[in-house]
């Protein structure tokens, strides 16, 4: 009897993953993991019939026998900014050799498997990829910053992905205690030509009066898949800022879900993407205003070239209790070719009556009149277009927490526009 025929594709992929899983799960997290593994028995791959996945297909991920990879020796990118604190992860394994972690009082940095995290703040029964990560987590960072501590220098975290049919499931957790401050620069880099699926999961908890500022740079490969989910919870009088730059990648999906659980806090989610060829980039955000007097700002900008497709779906909830909420959301896109597509869907759900909320979405071509104006002054068509696109990108670039990342981002933009 051929057993394979009776297996669902979900089971088939899961078996392949289980057989190759080579990571130790921390004792503290094992109950959560086991529960997730049980959930996986009933979870299916999302189809485009589900609203949350309407414009992003997962079929290419569903039909591969993903296997976990090893701590391969992959070069760090040459233009990586110099950093005082650096953590390197290769295919979900912590690379001790290439990590530099000076001791700082009050700052705990560990690979996730060495942490004592017990639970997930996300619901793993809702999504198959999330459940995968929770059931078979690999190493991302665990960072905990004590009360009244501020770390000036940004922590640099580099995730490298490589191989053929390789899955990586880095799991990260960062917690800021009261009145503390931290900056993180995260890089996710797929080796050129590799066929890897990065299924990254991050959780952030920002305590009262604390500030967490994060830049994320994503560099995918021509064939790979990149999925990054972030779940955040904010306390009182605190700030969470996340800037995501998706510079390349065949398939990228980012989900960021942030809960504003107490008053007078601020959440800033910004993003820039510049897909070319047949690249697909999807940003989904959810900001949940649960309490009064909070502010959220979202600015997502995209430049779509060639046959690329983009998706933006930003949802803002303002709960009944969340009076005096200020929520602003903006998504702007420039479609540079006749064959690129953008799907943009801003959504607001407001249950309070004394709030200021706005959302806007614009998608258009490069302004021909502006191009002609610049050319009439002597700029070539190519340079006129570049100047306009750079100006458009600048609105997000100026939000960068770590200015050292600017060059690496601008270089990619220039290369893609050339």
């Amino acid at each position: 009897m051929d057993l394979a025929k009776e297996m669902t594709k979900e089971q088939a992929v899961l078996d392949s993953m289980k057989n190759s899983y080579n990571h130790a799960v921390a004792d503290s997290f094992s109950t959560t993991s086991s529960k997730s593994l049980l959930n996986l028995e009933s979870l299916e791959f999302p189809t485009t019939k589900v609203e949350y996945w309407k414009y992003t297909r997962t079929g290419q991920i569903a039909n591969k026998a993903w296997k976990f990879g090893n701590l391969d020796n992959i070069d760090l990118p040459e233009n990586l900014p110099v950093a005082k604190y650096r953590m390197v992860f290769v295919n979900g394994h912590f690379d001790t050799q290439r990590s530099t972690l000076p001791q700082v009082e009050g700052l705990t940095i560990l690979p996730f498997s060495k942490s004592e995290v017990q639970n997930s703040i996300a619901q793993s029964e809702e999504d198959i990829f999330r459940a995968w990560n929770t059931a078979m987590p690999q190493d991302g960072y665990f960072i905990s910053l004590a009360k009244n501590k501020a770390v000036e220098e940004p922590l640099q975290i580099v995730f490298l992905y490589s191989g053929e049919n390789t899955i990586s499931q880095p799991r990260s957790f960062v917690e800021l205690a009261e009145n503390s401050e931290l900056k993180i620069s995260e890089f996710h880099i797929h080796s050129s030509g590799s066929l890897a699926f990065a299924n990254a999961h991050s959780e952030v908890i920002v305590g009262d009066n604390s500030h967490l500022k994060m830049d994320i740079v994503q560099h995918g490969s021509e064939k790979g898949f990149h999925f990054h989910e972030t779940f955040g919870e904010q306390g009182k009088n605190c700030t969470y800022t996340q800037n995501t730059f998706t510079l390349s990648g065949n398939w990228t999906r980012n989900n960021s879900t942030i809960r504003l659980k107490d008053e007078h806090s601020e959440c800033n989610l910004n993003g820039f993407y510049i897909p070319n060829l047949k690249e697909h980039i999807d940003n989904h955000t959810i900001i949940d205003h649960e309490k009064p007097n909070c502010e959220s700002n979202e600015l997502y900008r995209g430049v779509l070239l060639d046959k690329s497709t983009g998706v933006f779906n930003g949802k803002v909830y303002v709960r009944q209790d969340a009076q005096k909420t200020n929520a602003f959301q903006s998504n702007g896109n420039i479609i540079v070719s006749d064959t690129a597509t953008m799907n943009s869907k801003p959504e607001l759900e407001i249950y309070a009556d004394d709030v200021k909320c706005s959302h806007g979405s614009t998608t258009g071509q490069l302004d021909d009149e502006a191009v002609f104006y610049l050319m009439a002054r002597g700029l070539s068509k190519e340079n006129a277009r570049k100047l306009l696109i750079n100006a458009f990108a600048e609105d997000v670039l100026e939000k960068l927490v770590n200015g050292d990342l600017r060059e690496i981002i601008e270089d990619t933009i220039q290369t893609k526009l050339a």
């Binding site: 302004d367 502006a370 002609f372 610049l374 050319m375 009439a376 002054r377 002597g378 006129a384 100006a391």
Partner: protein, 253 residues
């Protein structure tokens, strides 16, 4: 310098210029006047290389080059400058950076060294004062949030920086009050020289009180139907365009 012969141009299949001829010699100032819809702005756009317009026949020679063969940027490098009737607002692009890029691109095209930062700043200061353009405006995004007068002054400032051989002013007076008009005209007058020519497109005679032309041409229905000295402008101001239309229509009939 500029020799336009029997120029025909259309937009979206509609013919606007219907056999226009004009010769401009170095140092001359030519005013092009005419009723609305006669093709004045089309002429300016075609000379600058706006691709929305299609040249169907005729020729334009500029200093021995076939101007119509050149792209807008190449025309700029060759020394043609168009002061736009409606300067475009370009958010995020700094006025100064863009001008520097424009100057250096032309220098590169002409095989010259890039302008030094010191020389550039010196020129900015000098040329901005020609049109009393505030320092703050030169550093802002191109035309963003500028008043109508500031936009036109910015055009003349750019012209001064780029030092063209032929400047085409497309209804630079439109929307300007008398003070702004005086500042703009004063800037233009300071840039007049034996080598530099101007084509001043305007609907009203008022601008020509300040920028005194050598020739006044009346454009009607896509052709130049009358040419005279500066007195012609006064006559048009007094009598309107109806008598020109009648005369021209009588000839065609």
């Amino acid at each position: 310098m500029l020799n336009i012969k029997d120029l025909h141009a259309s937009i979206e299949g509609k013919e606007i210029l219907k056999g226009l001829s004009l010769e401009v010699k170095p140092g001359e100032v030519h005013a092009i006047m005419g009723p609305n819809g006669s093709g004045k702005s089309t002429l300016a756009s075609v000379l600058a290389g706006n691709e929305d317009f299609e040249v169907t026949s005729g020729s334009v020679d500029f200093l021995g080059n076939d101007l119509l063969e050149l792209g807008p940027d190449e025309r700029s490098h060759a020394g043609v400058f168009l002061a736009f009737q409606y300067p475009v607002e370009i958010p995020g692009v700094s006025n100064i950076n863009f001008l520097k890029a424009a100057i250096n691109e032309r220098r590169e095209a002409l095989g010259e060294e890039p302008i030094t930062a010191k020389e550039f700043l010196k020129q900015v200061k000098e040329k901005a004062s020609l049109v009393e353009l505030d320092n703050k405006l030169t550093n802002r995004s191109v035309n963003e949030g500028f008043s109508g007068g500031e936009k036109k002054r910015n055009e003349i400032f750019q012209m001064a920086m780029l030092e063209p051989k032929l400047a085409i002013l497309d209804e630079t007076d439109s929307g300007l009050d008398i003070d702004a008009l005086r500042i703009v005209a004063n800037g233009v007058n300071q840039l007049r020289s034996k080598e530099r020519s101007f084509v001043v497109v305007t609907h009203y005679q008022r601008l020509l009180d300040h920028i005194v032309p050598d020739f006044v041409h009346v454009l009607y229905d896509g052709k130049i139907v009358k040419t005279g000295g500066k007195e012609l402008a006064l006559e048009l101001e007094e009598k309107g365009y109806d008598w020109i239309k009648k005369e021209a229509d009588a000839v065609t009939a």
